[in-house]
């Protein structure tokens, strides 16, 4: 018998997830656009029309933040749900749990890329021509992905060990949403807090992505390095946790 090609397993699992998610629903993939779209409308009405937040290109500013945020929030939540949903596989077949986590993340990643593609299509249709610094966007997609993978690898074992971890994570996400500059600009944060505020890698990634996509600027190299440093540290911690917990947490499933 041949050695199992884990990449092939990851690919087939995420493809099966993709089919299962959209099978038999009339709108199919359309649903994954509807969610960010409604989020955009609600936040736009509240913060632009009611609270008079005044930011250049606010619609696109908001939408880009939402798409990046949704990837992180959905991917981390789905990876926890997926491990429980696939418990029967892990309990009966000797495959490493990271395969299941990776397949879930791959699925979220494709949804994110499709959403991002739609974003660029829409801003193009509305006549916003992307700026020259846009060529940097793959770098920020990569950063966000590494961060999301790192966080998932850390929280999935926790969610298996503690059945209520999912609730805690929901609360944490709600908090994180507001301490990330999605609906507002980060320099509204008071000087006393900004040092701590900018330790949030998600905030840094979103700020820097907007800088290159919407405002035709390249962030300071010092800032870019700090962001990369934080993201890589979290990713390494994730790998370490995944390696240490390996199969042992399966017994808690």
């Amino acid at each position: 018998m041949k050695k199992i090609n884990y990449f092939n397993v990851i690919k087939e699992l995420s493809w099966a997830d993709f089919k299962l998610k959209y099978y038999g629903s009339i709108f199919g993939l359309f649903w994954s656009f509807l969610k960010p779209f409604f989020m955009l409308i609600i936040l736009y009405v509240v913060f632009h029309s009611f609270l008079k937040v005044d930011v250049e290109h606010y619609t696109w500013f908001l939408l880009l933040g939402i798409i990046f945020w949704n990837f992180f929030a959905d991917a981390t939540k789905d990876s926890m749900q997926n491990i429980t949903a696939k418990a029967h596989i892990l309990k009966n077949i000797n495959i490493p749990p990271f395969v299941i986590i990776a397949s879930s993340l791959l699925h979220s990643f494709w949804t994110f890329l499709i959403g991002l593609g739609a974003f660029f299509l829409i801003i193009f249709i509305f006549g916003f021509s992307p700026t020259g610094t846009i060529f940097l966007i793959p770098y920020f997609i990569m950063l966000l992905t590494f961060f999301t993978v790192g966080v998932s690898l850390i929280i999935v074992p926790l969610s298996v060990r503690f059945k209520d971890f999912g609730h805690l994570w929901d609360i944490f996400l709600q908090m994180l949403f507001w301490i990330t500059p999605i609906v507002y600009q980060h320099f509204l944060v008071p000087k006393t807090y900004i040092k701590w505020y900018l330790l949030n890698p998600l905030a840094r990634i979103i700020v820097e992505t907007r800088t290159v996509v919407l405002y035709d600027k390249i962030p300071e190299s010092k800032q870019i390095l700090i962001t990369a440093g934080i993201v890589i540290s979290i990713f390494m911690i994730g790998l370490l946790v995944a390696k240490k917990s390996s199969r042992s947490f399966v017994e808690h499933l």
Partner: protein, 239 residues
């Protein structure tokens, strides 16, 4: 060849089970957690030769599945070591990983990948698999419309397309019909000739005595007896 050297599997059963963050924190504050040790397997030592068909019998909860899971690498033993020469089929019971909302063909791609086959390989073997399972007509039907027996046959047919050296099977013939069981026994006999080692847990004593070279009898996690089918079954029935 499989050698098992004094393997034990211990579970710690908390007196009050704490599976949430709050319960755990609360528990630490009040007192240390108290556990009761439970041995699912205790000090099992035995060795199996290449090409043997080994039966695994014992009452419910005697540790049959635990032993198979340890050999299959799904669980790790608390104490002891084991060694297996050759590749072990990475599954125990049939149909695990099958998803009922996917069609038979889609399930074969998914399950096949888990067993180490690429999409192309599966496509090549698809006619054989469906033919052996006898579900050709239903290849694009969702699995939820299949009977348990049909799912078992499909899984077994896919399994024989992989080429493992060691098979660990947990109660797989419980669902087959009168045509399928002789078919699968034919496969097991072919495997034996090819020198593959098979360990199968079953409650079907007739089947065990007919096809197994030797039989392991587990009693509350202890090795009750390991020997020729006739004697072991006699002891099992007397216990």
């Amino acid at each position: 060849m499989i050698t098992i050297d004094s393997i034990s599997k211990k579970y710690r059963i908390p007196h009050e089970k704490r599976i949430t963050v709050f319960e755990t924190l609360g528990g630490y504050l009040r007192n240390r957690m108290e556990y009761q040790d439970f041995y699912a397997l205790k000090n099992i030592t035995l060795s199996i030769q290449k090409g043997e068909i080994i039966g695994l019998i014992g009452k419910n909860g005697s540790g049959k599945t635990t032993l198979l899971k340890i050999l299959g690498g799904v669980l790790s033993p608390t104490e002891g070591v084991f060694a297996i020469n050759g590749k072990v089929a990475p599954f125990l019971s049939l149909g695990v990983g099958f998803h009922h909302e996917l069609t038979a063909r889609e399930n074969l791609y998914l399950y096949g990948a888990i067993l180490g086959m690429s999409r192309n390989e599966i496509n090549e073997k698809l006619p054989d698999i469906f033919d052996f399972a006898g579900v050709e007509r239903f290849k694009d039907v969702k699995l939820k419309n299949f009977s348990t027996g049909m799912i078992g046959r499909l899984a077994f047919s896919l399994m024989i397309q992989t080429d493992p050296d060691v098979l660990l099977l947990d109660e797989i013939f419980a669902v087959g019909d009168k045509d399928f069981i002789p078919q699968s026994i034919g496969i097991l006999e072919r495997y034996k000739k090819e020198g593959k080692t098979i360990v199968l847990a079953s409650h079907d004593l007739e089947f065990i005595s007919k096809y197994c070279d030797r039989v392991i009898f587990l009693e509350n996690g202890n090795l009750g007896m390991f020997g020729s089918a006739g004697e072991v079954i006699k002891m099992y029935l007397a216990s």
